[in-house]
């Protein structure tokens, strides 16, 4: 769902978004009814529980109580107005943003080489890219422990080369969490960007080259703008997943690496304070949506600027 929404955002969304007449036109087509089951499923499986949770966050906190009460209060949110919770939110945003940035750079690079690969070898490479998703998170984490642990491969090499005197603490740090997250979420970015690559006519970069552009200019001026919808989709997916990830920070983070989801889990399972947990969920959801909205809006503007820059053909 997010892919479609984000993919159609830049530029293309403009002619459709003319309000009611467009909607009415869509409804006149009976095929639009095919969307109905999906809408019902999303409403029942996603929107209703989220609304219930948001309503719960407005009830006074009672330990172990999960039923909605009539009394409305902002007490759960008032408790959040505190430097501690703000710093955890900032850390969550930071970890997710860095994860997304690294995934974007690596994702574009991997997708670019996949695009250049002859079709008969591509299937295998795509499976390799998807490999992290085929391994259970626990096995994946142990794999990282073998690499990053005090007696792991990285430290063994560094010690052997005499670059360090004592093993570096690489595991159970914020850096380890980011490495773990990039590892899992990179395939989502690669696939989104690859889809955008596949829509590029190979003649376009060739033409740019013929006109005298170097490889970097070709990439920056022709390929990157065309990849933009795919990157936007990838950013949406990776950032939302990173913001809501719980297991990787729990398994690979150490002391001082807690994120918002850690607090949410704790409120639900340790202190049974569902109301405060619901308020934390609301903050997580709102900050994810706000930041993504800002990024996608900026992205859409940039795409439009590219499309309307002097010399480009009107679309």
């Amino acid at each position: 769902m997010t892919v479609a929404a984000a993919g159609s955002l830049p530029g293309e969304a403009v002619p459709v978004a003319k309000g009611r007449p467009a909607l009415a036109a869509a409804l006149r087509h009976p095929a639009a009814l095919l969307l109905l089951p999906a809408c019902v499923a999303v409403a029942a499986g996603l929107l209703l529980p989220i609304l219930y949770l948001l309503a719960l966050s407005l009830n006074p906190p009672v330990t172990g109580e999960v039923a909605l009460a009539g009394e409305l209060t902002l007490r759960n949110y008032a408790r959040l107005l505190d430097w501690f919770y703000f710093s955890v939110l900032l850390r969550t945003l930071w970890v997710s943003a860095v994860t997304t940035a690294i995934s974007t750079v690596l994702g574009v690079a991997v997708a670019h080489s996949l695009w250049r690969t002859p079709p008969h070898r591509r299937g295998l490479l795509v499976v390799v890219v998807l490999a992290p998703l085929l391994v259970s998170i626990v096995a994946r984490t142990f794999g990282w422990m073998l690499l990053l642990g005090d007696q792991g491969l990285v430290n063994a090499v560094l010690l052997r080369l005499g670059l360090v005197e004592a093993p570096l603490h690489l595991m159970f740090t914020q850096g380890a969490v980011i490495v773990g997250l990039v590892h899992v979420f990179l395939p989502f970015m690669v696939l989104s960007v690859l889809a955008a690559y596949d829509r590029i006519d190979p003649a376009i970069p060739e033409a740019a080259g013929t006109l005298g552009a170097g490889p970097f200019t070709v990439f920056r001026e022709t390929i990157l703008p065309l990849l933009n919808p795919g990157i936007a989709a990838g950013v949406t997916i990776v950032f939302s997943l990173a913001m809501s990830s719980y297991v990787t920070p729990a398994l690979m983070g150490g002391s001082g690496a807690g994120v918002l989801t850690t607090l949410i889990y704790q409120q639900l399972v340790v202190t049974y304070d569902w109301h405060f947990a619901a308020a934390l969920v609301a903050v997580l959801l709102a900050s994810t949506l706000l930041l993504l909205g800002a990024v996608l809006y900026h992205n859409a503007r940039r795409t439009r600027a590219w499309m309307t820059r002097p010399g480009s053909a009107p679309r």
Partner: protein, 357 residues
């Protein structure tokens, strides 16, 4: 998380959930159909921790009990938080007749008035149980067995043997210690212990926090379950486990790793599981027979040797190997959980702010 007793991982396991479902479904079936063979003896629904615990528990208690009485015992797997929630939600018509709960959920159960009062008049073998294992739950539950909490460490990775809880604060162990994350088994015991070591008590847990904050630099990671302990200790990622039952370290010792488990000189902490009969259970009489059976001397010996735990029946004599691994109560320190449980939300908040985040 609160349900993971000794060595079960704290993270939700889909497999466990499925098994719980299956067990639950099985329970529903037996209640609904009441097969002729069991109709005679009746049936009851109880709870058990998964893994090795379930295997030993069935072998030592459930199977002989069913053979002897014809009472079918359906065991529900899952977490203690789940079982407690079920008994609170289904108070009028309990789904679980007999709860087997660890700390702190067994204290919560008493605070919520879940269990019937138990006495030697109805359960004769209670007379042989050390009074403390009834008093711990204000007579609403009785202990089945207990284990110790102490320190586990890698002999080859620490500069000198550890003998005292205070050794955890030794600067030589910087970056080498793992402590329970809040809510994981051992975490509340850690807070109480840290408070007691620094002039506090159950009523005054505040002194624990500056002490734990000072320990923060020594902590490699806050563990989330028994698997974290065995992994970190066997890989050398952590050299010292600040608060653990004997189960994860002895798994490593038995596998030949250079690990030691010690009860510090100030006394170890205590973990215990207890039986609670749901107040509105229609099978309360069967549950009393079950408890009486589980507390009898031979069954206590069998179950404690199987689980490697201490008996609550004072007449039970456990095997040499069990005795080596489970200290007698005089080497352990109990505390008043009823004073700690109501403070848990506030303790969690302080833990987050000052220690973990």
């Amino acid at each position: 998380m609160t349900g993971s007793r000794l060595a079960t991982p704290a993270l939700p396991s889909p497999r466990l959930a499925r098994r719980t479902l299956l067990a639950g479904g099985g329970a529903a079936l037996t209640i609904g159909l009441a097969a002729p063979a069991t109709a005679q003896g009746g049936s009851l629904v109880s709870t058990v921790f998964g893994g090795v615990y379930e295997r030993e528990y069935r072998k030592a208690i459930v199977e002989p009990f069913e053979r002897e009485t014809g009472i079918r015992t359906q065991l529900k797997l899952g977490s203690s938080a789940e079982w407690l929630t079920s008994s609170l939600v289904n108070r009028r018509n309990p789904e679980i007749d007999l709860l087997l709960l660890p700390y702190p959920d067994n204290i919560r159960a008493v605070l919520e008035n879940v269990g019937l009062p138990l006495s030697a008049a109805e359960i004769p073998n209670i007379a042989e149980v050390a009074p403390v294992w009834l008093e711990q739950w204000r007579g609403q539950a009785v202990g089945l067995d207990y284990v110790s909490y102490g320190i586990a460490y890698r002999e080859d990775l620490v500069p000198k043997p550890i003998t005292s809880w205070k050794d955890l604060w030794d600067p030589a162990l910087r970056g080498k210690v793992t402590l329970p994350n809040i809510g994981v088994f051992g975490s509340w015991e850690m807070i109480v212990l840290a408070a007691r070591l620094h002039g506090g008590s159950e009523e005054n847990l505040a002194p624990a926090f500056p002490a734990l904050k000072a320990l923060r630099g020594s902590v490699r990671q806050f563990f989330r379950g028994g698997t974290d302990i065995t992994n970190m200790l066997s890989s050398g990622e952590a050299a010292v486990v600040g608060m653990t039952t004997h189960i994860p370290p002895y798994a490593l010792i038995d596998a030949g790793k250079p690990v030691r488990y010690v009860i510090p000189e100030e006394g170890g902490m205590v973990g215990a599981v207890s039986y609670h009969i749901a107040r509105n259970s229609r099978n309360a009489e069967l549950c009393k027979r079950f408890i009486n059976f589980a507390l009898s001397r031979p069954v206590q010996e069998a179950v404690c040797n199987g689980l490697v735990a201490g008996p609550t029946n004072t007449k039970a004599v456990i095997a040499e190997r069990t005795r080596e691994r489970v200290p007698t109560l005089d080497r352990l320190q109990l505390f008043d959980w009823f004073k700690v449980v109501p403070q848990m939300p506030a303790l969690t908040e302080r833990w987050n702010r000052e220690v973990a985040f």
